[in-house]
Symmetry: C4
C-alpha cells in the first residue's frame, strides 16, 4: 500500500470540478477549501492513506486519535447545474515520489467520476504583510485565463509552484484535463485566512456559488488583532532606543 483510497460511497456526478487545497504556506489553500466544505455542507466520500505521509497520528479534542489522511468530499448544486469534488487533508506526502503517486491516484479517481476540470488553491509568498492581498492565477493553457477577464486577479508569467497544489494541476494537464490555480498573496509567516477569503471571492464569483465568507473574514481579523497587539507590546517602547543603538546614536 503506497496509496490507499477508502471509498465510503461512490457519488454520481455530472462532469464535476475538482477543487484542491492541501496544507501549505499560510494554510491558504486548505483554509479556503475547508470553508467551502463547511459552507456547502459537502459530503465525505473517500479517505486517502499513504505510506508517504509522515508517520503521525493526530489527537482529536475528544481524546481519540486518527492516522494522518487526506479526504475527498462531493457537493451537488440543488438545481443540479454544478458538481464539485473537494480534496484536502492533514498533510502532503513527505517525499517527491509520494507527491507524484498520490496526485496521480487522486486524478485517476476523479477522472473516473467524470471530472475534467481542476481548481487548485495555494499561496503566493511575498515576505511582507498586506491587508489587501492580491490573487494570482495561472492555468493549464493561456486560453483559459481569458475567462478571468474583468476579475480582480493578476496573471503570473514566471516562477515555479511547488508541492501538491501545483503538481495536481501539472499532472491534470498531462492527462488532457484543464484547470486553474489561484494563489493568494501572503507573507508566509502566519495562517492567512484573508488570503483564503480573497481566493474564494474570485472562485465563487467564477462558479456563481453563493457562499458566506464571514467566518474567514473573522478569522483574518482575529489574526490581524493578534499581530497588532504583538507589535504594540513588543516593539513600541524599545523601538526608539533600539533604533539609536543600531544606528550608532549616543544620547
Amino acid at each position: 500500500m503506497s496509496v490507499e483510497i477508502k471509498l465510503i460511497k461512490t457519488p454520481k456526478l455530472k462532469r464535476p470540478h475538482l477543487v484542491c487545497g492541501l496544507p501549505g504556506s499560510g494554510y491558504v489553500g486548505k483554509l479556503a477549501v475547508d470553508h467551502l466544505i463547511k459552507e456547502l455542507k459537502a459530503e465525505l466520500f473517500a479517505e486517502v492513506y499513504s505510506y508517504y505521509f509522515p508517520p503521525h497520528i493526530l489527537i482529536k479534542p475528544d481524546g481519540s486519535i486518527d492516522l494522518i489522511k487526506n479526504e475527498l468530499y462531493f457537493w451537488t448544486d440543488t438545481n443540479n447545474s454544478l458538481d464539485l469534488i473537494i480534496y484536502t487533508g492533514d498533510s502532503q506526502p513527505a517525499s517527491s515520489e509520494g507527491d507524484y503517486e498520490l496526485a496521480d491516484r487522486i486524478l485517476s479517481l476523479v477522472r473516473s467520476l467524470g471530472a475534467d476540470t481542476v481548481f487548485t488553491f495555494g499561496a503566493y509568498i511575498t515576505g511582507s504583510f498586506t491587508l489587501h492581498p492580491k490573487v494570482y492565477v495561472t492555468a493549464t493553457n493561456a486560453e483559459l485565463l481569458k475567462t478571468l477577464q474583468g476579475y480582480d486577479v493578476i496573471i503570473t508569467n514566471e516562477g515555479t509552484i511547488t508541492g501538491m497544489n501545483g503538481l495536481i494541476l501539472g499532472l491534470a494537464k498531462l492527462r488532457g484535463m484543464k484547470g486553474l490555480c489561484f494563489l493568494g498573496e501572503t507573507s508566509g509567516y502566519i495562517i492567512d485566512a484573508r488570503a483564503s477569503k480573497r481566493i474564494l471571492e474570485v472562485f465563487t464569483k467564477l462558479l456563481k456559488l453563493d457562499i458566506d465568507l464571514t467566518a474567514l473574514e473573522e478569522r483574518a481579523r482575529e489574526m490581524e488583532a493578534i499581530i497588532h497587539s504583538f507589535e504594540e507590546r513588543q516593539y513600541k517602547p524599545q523601538e526608539r532606543i533600539d533604533d539609536k543603538s543600531r544606528l550608532g546614536y549616543i544620547s
Copy 2:
C-alpha cells in the same frame, strides 16, 4: 525483503492484547515493555528484520554481534484469562515508508494470532524534570477512555504522536482494532525509567497484572542520583534552588 518476520514458533493465543514499546524519546516505552518481558518471563516467538532499519550491527557483551532487529514475545496468564503479545526492538525504521510497512506487517501478524486490542507506550515530552511524571492517554475511540475513569491519567485532546508507537495505534484503528496509548511525562533529556514505571502502574492495574516494579524504581533513582550529583558539582550556588523547582524536592 523489505520486512522479514522470522517465526521461531507460532503461539496459540486467545484474543491476545498487543503491547508495543519501541525505542523513542527517553526510552520510556521500551523500558516499560522490556520490564514487562522480564518480569512476566514472556517467550520470544519472532524476530523481525527490515531493509528500513539502519544498517548497523550491535556488539554484545560476549563479543559476538547481532543485526539490528525487532522482537515479538508472548505471555499467557497461568489461569489463562489474559494473553499478551509484546513488541519491542533495537530500533525504529529509518524512513516513513519503513515505519508504515513494518507497522502494517506487525499488525497483520498479531491479527492472524487473534489480537484485536493494541496498547502502545511512549513519551510525553515537556522539557523539564519532575519526580512525579503524569501519564497521558489517548485511544482509538473516545468511548474506550471511559475505562480509565478513576485512574491517575490525563486524557490528551490535542497534538501529534510521531513514530511507530503512535503509528501502530493509528493503523490498528484503520483495521477496526481498538487500543490505548499511554504516554509517560518526561523531560526528553534522559533515559527515564520513572516515566516507564508510571505507565506500568496504570497498565498493570487496568489489566490486573501482578508485576514487581522495583527494578524500574531503582533504575529511576540511579538516574536521579546522577543528575543530582551532576548539579551539585557543576552548578554549586544555584543548584539548591533549581533542584527544588526542577526535580520537585523538598529539603
Copy 3:
C-alpha cells in the same frame, strides 16, 4: 510510473549520436544543448516525465503552466550524413536512484533508435573567473581521446563527474556504447554561456557542424558586463586590479 517517456513521433535515424546537456553547474551543458536545438531547428519527438523529478510546475510567459519534464529532439543533416538525438530538460531527478533509472531509460530508447555514440556536456568548476575557459574531455575509452588530437582541449586524468551528464556516459559504456564528455571550465558562480560556447566550438568542429555561435557569445558578454558593472559599483578601489587577474582583461 517512475519514468514515463511520451513519444510524439518515432524518428527514422541512421546510427544517430546522442547529445546530452541537462541543467547543472553554470547551466554549461544545458545552454550548449539548447543552442544546438535552436540553431539546428531540431524537432521535439519525446517528452520525459518522472516521479523522481521535483514536484514542481513551471509558469510560462503566457501564464500557463507545465509539469517539470525532460525532452528529446532529433535532427537529420540535409545531406543525411549525420543524425543527432539531443537530450535536455528542466531538471535532473531529485535522487540517485532517479538518476540511474532515468539515464537507463533514455539509453534504452536511443539504443532502440540506433544510437551507439554519446556526447555529454557539463561543467568543470574552478572557483575563479576566466575569459578564456578551457575545455576538458574524458571518454568511455582512452583510444577515443586520440580523435581529439590537434583540438584545443585538455584530457582529464583524475576526479569524479557527478549527476546525469556523467552518469549517462558511464551507463552507456556499460552497454558497450562509446562516448565523450566535454566539460567547459567555469567559476561555478554564474550561468556561463562562454563555457558553453567553448564546448560547442570543439563539438561542432569534431562533427563538422556549421553552427553560428553568436548568440552564445552575446549572452556571455552580457553576463560579463553585469559582473563588470557590479565590480565597478561595489568594489571601487580594488576592482581594477582584481578585474585584470580575475577576468583576464588587459587594459
Copy 4:
C-alpha cells in the same frame, strides 16, 4: 536494476572464505583488502553495479571513465588448501536499503560459490593518533573468538558497527554463516595504512597466508612523515604560547 552483478567468470572454489573491505573511515578496510588483492594476484570475476550507488563516474589516469562499482576477486592457494573471495569497491551505497540489498545479493552469490565464512575489515575510530594501533575483533558467535587466543587483538564487547563492513557480517549470521570482523584502531582523520597493516598481520597469521606487508608499511610511513612535517611547520612556535594560555599560565 537495483543491484546488477556482472559475472566475468564463475570460479570453481572449495568452501572459500569471503573477505570484505569497502571504503569507510580511514579507508582501513579497503586498503587492507586492496593490498591482499595485489599481493595474492587475485583474479577479478564479477563487477557489481547498483542504482543505490552515488550517480558518479570516475576518471582514470588514461582519461577514460568508469561508472562507480564494486568488485569481486577470487584467489586459490597453489596447494589448494585455501580459497578466498575478496570483495571491495569504489563506494558503499548511498542509502540504508541500498546497503541491505547489496549485502544480501553479495552473500547470495558467495553462498552459491560455497562460502560459509566471512571476514570483514573496518575502522575503530578513537579520535587520536597512535603509532601502535590495536586490532579489535568481534564475531558472529563468541565461540569463534577463542580461535584468536594468543593473537594480539582486543575483543570488543559493546557498541555498534555501521555500514556495509558490519552489515555483511550481521546478514551472514542470519543466513547461518560464521565470521569475524577486524577493526583497525585509527584516529579517523587520515587514510590509515598502519591500521590496515595491523589487521593484515592478524588475518594472515590466522589464515597462514604468506604476504609481504612492506608496501602498507611504506604508505603508513609516508603519511606519518606528512603529519610530522605538518606539525613541525604549523604548530611549533605557537605551541608553547598556546599551551600556557590554555592552562592559564602567566609568564
